[in-house]
Every structure is written in C-alpha cells, then in structure tokens.
C-alpha cells in the first residue's frame, strides 16, 4: 500500500541484486537476526535520546511503510524528518539545543508493516462512526495527534491521515442498536398522581353542596366556593405540566391569546345555564334553575381530566417512539393514524363510566328521565370537544383548536339568538323550529349537537394533522424559552445614553 507522499514510486520489494544492501543495512539485518530488539536500542543510546519509552503514539512509521524493503532508508534519520511540517522539530527547540527529547523517527524497533493499522485500531470507534474525514481529523487532534505525528505516517498533515483512515475503516452500521440506546424521551413521572384530583375534588364538593341535610345553606355555599377554588387550582396543576401542557404559551399575538379563553368561557357558561336560559326564552316563563344538572356537568368535565391526560400521554409516548423507528414520513403517518384513532376511541369510551360515576355520586339528583340523559350527553360531548381542542393545542395547532371551540360556541349562540328573536314582535315564525326541537328532545340537545359536531370535526382534523411528524417536534429548550427575564436595559433597544454621546 503506497501513499501519494511516498518518496519512491517503486513497489517496496527487497533488493535482490548483489550490492543491494549497503553496509549499515547489512549490519542491521545481521544484528536483528542475532537478537531482535537489540537494534532498537542502540541508535538511541548513541544519540543520547531517551524520548521513546515504546510509546505507541510514535510508531516507527518509516521502518514499516517503506523501509520494509529498503532498510537503508530506515537507518537514515533524514528520511523520517517530517517533510511538509511547517513547524518542524527544530522550530520548537532552542538554537543549539540537542536535548529537547525529539523522538524523530530514528530507527528503532521494526514496526508493523502498516503503521496506520495500529492507529486505525486505536481510534476504531472514532473512525467507524465518523461521517466525514474532517470529523476524524478533529477527533485525532483532540487525541493529541499533530501534523508531526501524521508525518510519521507519511502524511502531509492530519487531514490527509484522517482521509486515509476514513477510507480504510468501514463505517459502523449503528442503526440496529440505536433505538435501544436512544429511548424516546418520556414525559416526567409522578404527575399522573395529580390527574384524578380535579374530578375527586369536584365530586366531593358537588356532593356536599347538593345535600341539603348536612349543613345550612350558607355553609354549603361557602363549601361550594371553596371547592370551586380548589378544583381550579387542581386543574391548573394538571394542565400546566405533563402531557396537557401547551408549550410556548404567550408567544402568539394578543388577540389569539384572548380568543381561546373567550370561547372556552362561553362554552362553560352555556353548559352551566344555557339550557335554563333557552327554556325560559322559548316557553316565556322563568323556570327553576337546575343546580344538580349543572353540578353533574361540572363533575363529568372534572372527572374527564384524568382520562384526557392519560390518553394524551399514551399518544405522545407512542408517537415519539414511532418517530425514532420510522424510516419515512409516510411510514410514520401510517403508523400514527391508528394510534390516534385508538386514543380518541379510548377517551370516548372512558366518558361513559364517568357519566355513570357522576350520576352515582349525585344520587340525590332527579335521574332517570330522558332530558337528564340528553344533558349528560351534552356534558360528554363538551368533554370530547375540549379534549380534542387541547390535544391539538398541545401539538401546536392552536388556531385550529380555537376555531373548533368557536364553531361550537357560535352554534349555541345562534340558537339562543333565534329564540330571542322569536320573542320580538313579528319574529315568532323564527322560533318555531327551536320550539319544536326543544319540545321533542329537550333543551340539552342543542349543546349536545353543537359540541358533538365540533368535536367530531376537530377529531377528524386532528387525525390528519397529528400524523405529521412536525406535530411531534418536541423542543427540549422550550421550557426555558417562554419566560425570558428581561432587564430594563436589555433587549432590542438602543442605548438612550449612548445615542446622545457626542461624537
């Protein structure tokens, strides 16, 4: 194996003609035959150099690569001087200094036929995983290989040496072990203990508030307020961390920030008193406000936090795992779509027991009639809508989530407005369909239908967009990214004092 820097283009063969060996070479061969290794020491002793303790970093390149066939050059120190080295050994030593311990390739023990092989062996991992020669060069330099070392391997510089190593070492096929040693980043543990908290608090509060026999009304009202505050805190805890956290909040425009809470507030407000209002508007008489039904809706929604978080986390973890395993975007999408369907179905399936549980907890509430079932359906539909919207927002599709919420809210508002318009003089025909609908199915059918339609729409959209890889692009730096502390003098600002500084 010859390199471009080899001074002799001939193939390295042993001279066969008589007189092919000069005198020192013959002496060397003779001494090596007599005692291998003895020849390695003599030149050092003669030169007074002791810089080589058999260090493998300085293998005797010349003796191996070209000197195997030309032992006379192996004796000649000039043959080992680094040719292309700008800072040769002499440059580093003081003038007239001969004790600088320069282990130039003085003839020593005969190295292996291929000195680069040893280097290859030593830096095998580096070379096998390198993606280009420069990476090997950087790594070699970090291991202390300099141009002078490279000169020992008959290379002009480290780059040339790295190129040879890159060409000779086969690339590692490290794809097989990678999924194992790079597991998908898991969401933080322990937060799951919080998930059932809002539901439990809400259920206890509603149970206490709706039992007239346990306390006077004032105490129960106070209990209700305290419970509501606690539920709010628990909800905030659940939503501000874990799988339901929306990263990078507060970076978007101001209007978009307001739109989400507004839509959410409208939907919750309608769930609380929309049916009562609508019934009043249609029938024209003020009915009694059904506290129990509102409480049941609240309990269902609060209880749904736990399955929502669980499903979101399951989906995120599975999708992340698929991300590391997929070879292409199409493959990834094909794998994630069923995952999403399973997630959505799982959440919807979890809603039915939740509704039952809410009904059991609030046993005192009048149950069994059809209208209550419609109200429960409305609560479940609202829960599904909120889940879909949150899932979309978590994965970065906040605008879509808000528009879904807004669509449901608009549908509900339209019904209310129609009913109101029917009360105006001459508007009675407008209200007829609404009145008929309510008479047939009860007032709760309006939010149930609106939320269910919006939820279905959002879920369908989510199935399409959440199968994109970019939706699962979790940025590790996001947590610290959304709360930049800005000092008064920092930011994209000019220095007021500096600007006025005189020239």
């Amino acid at each position: 194996m010859t390199t471009p820097h080899d001074p002799t283009p001939d193939a390295p063969t042993t001279p066969t003609s008589p007189g092919g060996w000069n005198r020192p070479s013959r002496a060397l061969i003779a001494s090596e035959r007599a005692a291998p290794g003895a020849a390695a020491r003599t030149p050092y002793a003669a030169a007074g150099e002791s810089g080589r303790g058999g260090e493998p970093l300085w293998p005797d390149a010349a003796a191996g690569r070209t000197g195997a066939g030309r032992p006379d050059t192996a004796r000649d120190p000039g043959a080992h001087a680094p040719s292309g080295d700008p800072a040769g050994p002499e440059a580093g030593a003081a003038p007239g200094d001969d004790s600088g311990a320069r282990p130039t390739g003085a003839p020593g023990r005969r190295g292996p036929a291929d000195p680069v092989r040893e280097l290859m062996h030593r830096h095998h991992d580096l070379c096998a995983r390198a993606v280009d020669p420069l990476e090997i060069a950087a790594g070699l330099e970090a291991h202390g290989v300099t141009d002078r070392t490279a000169a020992r391997f008959r290379h002009r510089d480290v780059f040339a040496l790295a190129e040879e190593l890159y060409a000779r070492v086969p690339r590692a096929e490290d794809r097989a072990e990678e999924p194992a040693d790079a597991p998908a980043p898991r969401p933080e543990r322990g937060s799951w203990a919080l998930w059932p908290l809002p539901g439990a608090l809400c259920a206890v509060t509603a149970w206490a508030v709706l039992r007239p026999d346990i306390a006077p009304p004032a105490v129960r009202a106070a209990l209700g307020v305290a419970g509501a505050v606690l539920v709010g805190v628990a909800l905030w805890l659940c939503l501000s961390r874990g799988p339901l956290r929306i990263a990078g909040r507060g970076r978007a425009g101001r209007l978009a920030d307001l739109a989400g809470p507004l839509c959410l507030g409208w939907l919750l407000g309608y769930a609380a008193c929309g049916d009562w209002l609508l019934t009043g508007l249609v029938t024209g008489e003020r009915g009694a406000y059904d506290t129990a039904r509102a409480a049941e809706t609240a309990v269902v929604l609060a209880l749904a936090t736990a399955p929502a978080a669980g499903c979101a986390r399951w989906f995120a973890v599975r999708a992340r795992r698929r991300l590391t395993g997929s070879r292409g975007l199409e493959e990834f999408a094909a794998g994630v779509r069923p995952l999403f369907v399973l997630t959505a179905l799982g959440f919807l399936a979890a809603l039915a027991p939740l509704v039952l549980a809410a009904r059991l907890v609030l046993r005192l509430s009048p149950s069994g009639t059809g209208s209550v079932t419609a109200a429960e359906a409305a609560a479940a539909a609202l829960a599904a809508l909120l889940f879909a919207a949150r899932l979309l927002a978590v994965h970065g599709f906040r605008a879509a989530a808000i528009s879904g919420l807004a669509a449901a809210g608009a549908a509900e508002a339209a019904v209310e407005v129609t009913a109101l318009a029917a009360r105006l003089p001459g508007g009675a025909p407008l209200g007829a369909p609404v009145a008929r609908l309510i008479a047939a199915h009860g007032a709760a059918v309006v939010p149930a239908a609106a939320c269910a339609a919006a939820a279905l729409g959002l879920l369908g959209y989510a199935r399409a967009v959440l199968s994109r890889a970019s939706a699962h692009n979790a940025t590790p730096g996001a947590p610290d990214g959304h709360t930049p502390r800005r000092g008064p003098h920092r930011g994209d600002s000019t220095h007021p004092a500096r600007c006025e500084a005189p020239q």
Partner: protein, 612 residues
C-alpha cells in the same frame, strides 16, 4: 466609520466567549463607531446581563438563538418560494462531499438556497415557522432520498429529520431578524464577525444585499468545534449521552456547517485566523489563502512586566538566579482537566526526581475557588483533580529534612489567589521552569503568559504551541513523560540557558502577542477594507433626491478597476498574487482610471499622484 460587530454567545454578555478580546478591540479603536449585534446562546447567558460598554458602542441589538421560534406563517406564494430555496439547500447538504474546494456545484446550490431563504425572510418573514413546518421535513426527506445523497443522509429516520430541521431553524434564525434596516446593518461600513457560523450569517446577508464588506475573525474554527461537540472525544470523554447524535444528524449538520463555512469564507473580504492551526482548518474548509491573514490574539503585557523585567535584569547580572523563582522548582499553571494531562506531568516529575532529588513541582490551579466549590463534587472535573492528587500522593511521599522536622510533599497543589500565589505573575515567577503538558490545546494562553514573564518553558507539541513558542522554549511530543522529564532536567541543570530562553521568549511575546499588536493589526485591516471595498450607496443630494452622475460610469464596471480583477459580483479586491499590481500596464487607454472629479477634491488628487 460604522463597524458592525457580529458576535455569537460573545461580547456584550458578561459571560461570553472572547469577550475580553472584543472589549479591548472596541476600546482600542475608539475612532470608529461600533454597533454590536449579538446572538445569545442560552437563557442563562441572557439573564446574566452585559459587561460594561465603552462610549464608542453606539448601539447593541440582541437576539436569542434558543427557545421557541416566533410563530408566523406565510402565504401560499411564500410557501412555494420557501420550498424552492429550502429544497436547494437541503439537496446541497444531503449530497456527499466535504466542504473543501472542488465541489463547486453543491456549493453553488447551497449558496443559492441560503441567499434565497435570506431574501424570503427579508421580504416576508415567517422563516422560522416555515422551517419548523411539515413542508421543511418533507423537503429534507426528499433530498435525503435522492439518488446521489450521502450514505449517512439516506439512513435518516423521521426523528433525525426533525432534529435536523430544528437545528437548521436555530442556525438560520439570524436570517429573519430585524437587523437589516437602514439604521442597522444596511448602514454599516464594515461587518466584523467575531466567529464563523451563525454570527457570520448577518454579515453574509449584508454583503449580499448591501455590499458591506465582511471581515471574519476566528480564534477557534467553528466547523471544528461543531465536530467536537457532535462527537465527544478526547481523553476527557465525559459521558454525555445526550450530546451523541445519530449518524444521519451528524452527516447533515456537518455538511451544513461545512458548506456554511465555505460560503462565509468565499464571501468574506478578509479572514483573520488567530493562529496557524485555525488557518489550516480554514484553508481546509475552502478559504482562499490570499485572503487569510493571521492576527495573533493580544494579551495584557503590563501585568507581567514586573516579573518579566525583573527576571531579565537579575539573570543578566549573574546568569543564575532567577528573580523570586526557585531554580529547583517546576511550575504548572492552568485548570486541572483531562486535556491538560496532569497525569503525564506527574509521571515526568517522578523521572525528574529520580535524577534530581531536590526538584519540586508546584501545580497551580487557575480556577476560582468559589467557582469550583459551587458544583462541589458533582462536576466531572473534580474527579480528575482528586485522581491527580491521589496519584501525586502515591508517587511522592512526604519528605522531611531530618527526624525532627515536619515533612512536606515535593508536589504541591495550590490555587491561584491563595497566600502563596496571590496573582498570576507571581505564579509564573514561583519557579524556574514553566511546564505545559497538555494533549489538546488551542492557542496556549498560559504558555504566552509564561513567555511574558520571561520564563523558560517546556511544552508539548499540540495545537498552536510550536508557533507561539517559536524557538524560545523546549517542545516535546505529547503523552511522552520521559521526553518531558528530559527537557525539564536539561533546563533545571542549566541556569544560563534558562535565562537566555526566558529573555528570548519575553522578547518574542512582546513582539507578537501584545494587545497593541492585535489592535494595530485590526486598525490597519479596517482602514484597508474601507478603502478597498467601500459600500456603494446611492449618492444623495441635499434634498434627499438621488444625484445622477455622482459616480463616473467606470465605477460600475464589473470588477475593480483600482485593484486586481475578478469575475464575480461579490468583488474581491484581493486577487491572486501577480495580478494585484499593475493593472495600469494592461488597461487600454479608454479604460484607464479616470480622474475622479466628483469624489476627489484636492487632497485626494494628490494622494493619487503619490500612489502613482
């Protein structure tokens, strides 16, 4: 002259890299106006605030290279343009081939894509959102699966593609900043990027759109740092599994960094590496040798003047005694880290002791006491320090003069600021020979400080050691304790030679590595760039209306008619040697440099005569 100083994780921040150098530069060149455009690397850096700025810094603008990108999406037309340009960029970085010259086609594609993206960001914004979108991932995937793509790129999985697009978004974030207005980079006369990579991107954009000359200074080559952080190697080999990236990610990002560096080097008017090592890397990455000019970093010589002069004076007197220093003592100054290879030093010292039993070694750590107690025990460096101490205790037992005195160890570990060594000059002055035993070193600051102190040095041949020390100290191969010991013994036993080498080292350092030298070099470079590559702005009359015929028509001839000639519109004034002088001989009479009447009024005319 308005100089835009472009930094990344650097200057105005209190904990930035190369902050001291930039500060000295800005303070030294107070006849220019500076505007600092800084990219911060982390929230922590942003929170720690700025250093104090001198009055010639007129304005500071910062932008983060971390955190979530601003979300703003473009319309359909922008998406189409983005797809076109990003596709080109992605194809260029997915294709095989290093950044070395000779891969012109891919370099062109990369440049086209990059400048297209810059244009898009300048006109419409929304580039970060587009880079994070599904479109970008899809384009990158397509580029990776092209027939000619690199092998590593072809193995990319979806997670790799996402990592790469996120990294590209962060790297290209300087393109979509609002720095390019008339009050910003458009009005600057010179862009001085203090490192390659992201910091040079705004300069590249300014060069492209406003013709502002770009000067790139690199003390550590960005491409090399990128390789090293992508694959944590070195004797330290600190276990950082999070930093180990998969092969496709490394392939694509290395290609991006390499091609970006090549583009920056190609467009820069001048590149000033800090040492020959950096210069070799830059040449390897495609920098033209005629535009490279090594400017050594400057260090404060005044601190070491007392020790340095004192050492010279006394040693000049009787040749043996070195002031303050004990001539049996070897001194090692630095941070005790695996790349410094203190273990080899201890082994070498064991050999020295064997032959000179009265020798002593003082290992002086420069890390601040409070900084190291803060992460006590948890820092990976602490293990190494403990290991070194244990090794020293094992190799060298305590010794006492007789049976009644308290013993002492020939190897002492001290920390800078302790009563024994209150200041850095005193640390160097404490011994007769200063030793450097690193296996990895960039520019050896400690060695140069020792040179300023007039100490004889023994150092290992790593990084820029050889070119810093010149012939004024002993150099041994790295990881060779016996050679190190021999060199130390040679110096310990020869005081006259030690004094001679110390004086030579100090003279060399004073000539090459002072602040004044550094600042003067940049002053000259600034003026040179301003005179050779002026920004061509439209001449504006009194009322703000454009002045027709303010410049002669010949001023718009492609290529420079004042110096050299070159074909591309980026206008390098440094042509290949030989073509630089004497365009007048070959210029036809009709194209001879005309008298520049509107521009040269009196004094300039005489200057031209002088030049001719």
């Amino acid at each position: 002259m308005r100089v835009a100083l472009l930094t990344e994780g650097g200057y105005p921040y209190a904990n930035g890299e190369a902050r001291v150098w930039c500060d000295r530069l800005v303070r030294g060149l107070d006849q220019h106006e500076f505007e600092v455009y800084a990219l911060s690397r982390s929230a922590r850096q942003d929170a720690e605030g700025w250093a104090e700025l001198p009055a010639q810094v007129r304005r500071v603008r910062t932008a983060p290279l971390w955190g979530a990108p601003p979300v703003r999406r473009g319309g359909r037309r922008q998406r189409r343009r983005f797809a076109e340009h990003f596709g080109e960029l992605a194809a260029a970085i997915a294709s095989p081939g290093g950044p070395e010259p000779g891969t012109g086609h891919q370099a062109d594609r990369f440049a086209n894509g990059l400048h297209g993206l810059a244009e898009l960001a300048l006109e419409h914004g929304g580039l970060p959102a587009a880079l994070r979108s599904e479109d970008a991932v899809r384009l990158l995937e397509r580029a990776c699966h092209l027939p000619g793509a690199a092998r590593g790129a072809q193995q990319a999985r979806v997670a790799d593609l996402l990592t790469v697009t996120a990294a590209l978004e962060r790297a290209l974030r300087p393109l979509s900043l609002d720095w390019y207005g008339p009050g910003g980079l458009a009005g600057a006369d010179l862009c001085h990027a203090t490192s390659g990579g992201a910091a040079a991107l705004p300069g590249l954009v300014a060069k492209r759109f406003f013709g502002t000359p770009l000067l790139v200074t690199e003390y550590g080559v960005r491409v090399r740092e990128h390789y090293l952080e992508g694959c944590p190697v070195g004797p330290a080999d600190a276990v950082r599994p999070a930093a180990v990236r998969s092969a496709p990610v490394r392939t694509l990002l290395s290609a991006f960094q390499g091609r970006l560096a090549a583009e920056v080097y190609a467009r820069a008017a001048l590149i000033t590496p800090g040492n020959t090592h950096a210069r070799r890397w830059q040449e390897r990455c495609g920098a033209a040798p005629e535009r490279l000019r090594t400017v050594y970093p400057g260090m404060d010589a005044a601190r070491f003047a007392e020790v340095g002069e004192g050492g010279q004076g006394v040693s000049g007197g009787d040749g043996g005694a070195v002031s303050g220093g004990d001539d049996r003592t070897l001194v090692w100054v630095g941070r005790i880290e695996p790349p410094k290879d203190v273990v080899a030093l201890l082994h070498a010292f064991a050999e020295v002791r064997r032959r000179r039993p009265d020798a002593r070694l003082r290992i002086i750590e420069t890390r601040r006491a409070d900084a190291s107690t803060e992460p006590a025990g948890s820092a990976p460096g602490e293990d190494y320090v403990a290991h070194c101490r244990a090794l020293a205790a094992h190799l060298f037992p305590d010794e006492a003069a007789d049976a009644h005195t308290v013993g002492d160890n020939p190897v002492s570990f001290e920390r800078l600021g302790e009563p024994g060594v209150p200041t850095l000059p005193q640390a160097y002055a404490a011994g007769g020979v200063v030793v450097l035993s690193s296996v990895v070193e960039g520019f050896p600051v400690g060695l140069v400080e020792a040179m300023f102190c007039g100490r004889a040095t023994v150092s290992t041949d790593v990084g820029a050691v050889c070119e810093a020390i010149g012939g004024t100290g002993l150099v041994v191969p790295p990881r060779n304790p016996r050679a190190l010991a021999d060199a130390c013994l040679a110096l310990l036993g020869d005081p006259a030679r030690r004094a001679r080498l110390g004086a030579a080292a100090r003279a060399r350092a004073l000539e090459l590595f002072t602040i004044e030298q550094n600042v003067a070099a940049f002053r000259g470079i600034y003026l040179e760039l301003m005179s050779h590559c002026p920004v061509r702005r439209e001449e504006v009359g009194e009322g703000g209306a454009p002045l027709p015929f303010a410049l002669p028509a010949e001023a718009h001839i492609p290529g420079r008619w004042t110096a050299g000639r070159d074909g591309d519109r980026f206008g390098h004034w440094l042509a290949a040697p030989g073509a630089s002088r004497g365009p007048q001989d070959h210029t036809p009479t009709w194209a001879a440099p005309p008298p520049r009447e509107p521009l040269s009024v009196g004094p300039q005319g005489s200057a031209t005569e002088e030049g001719a």
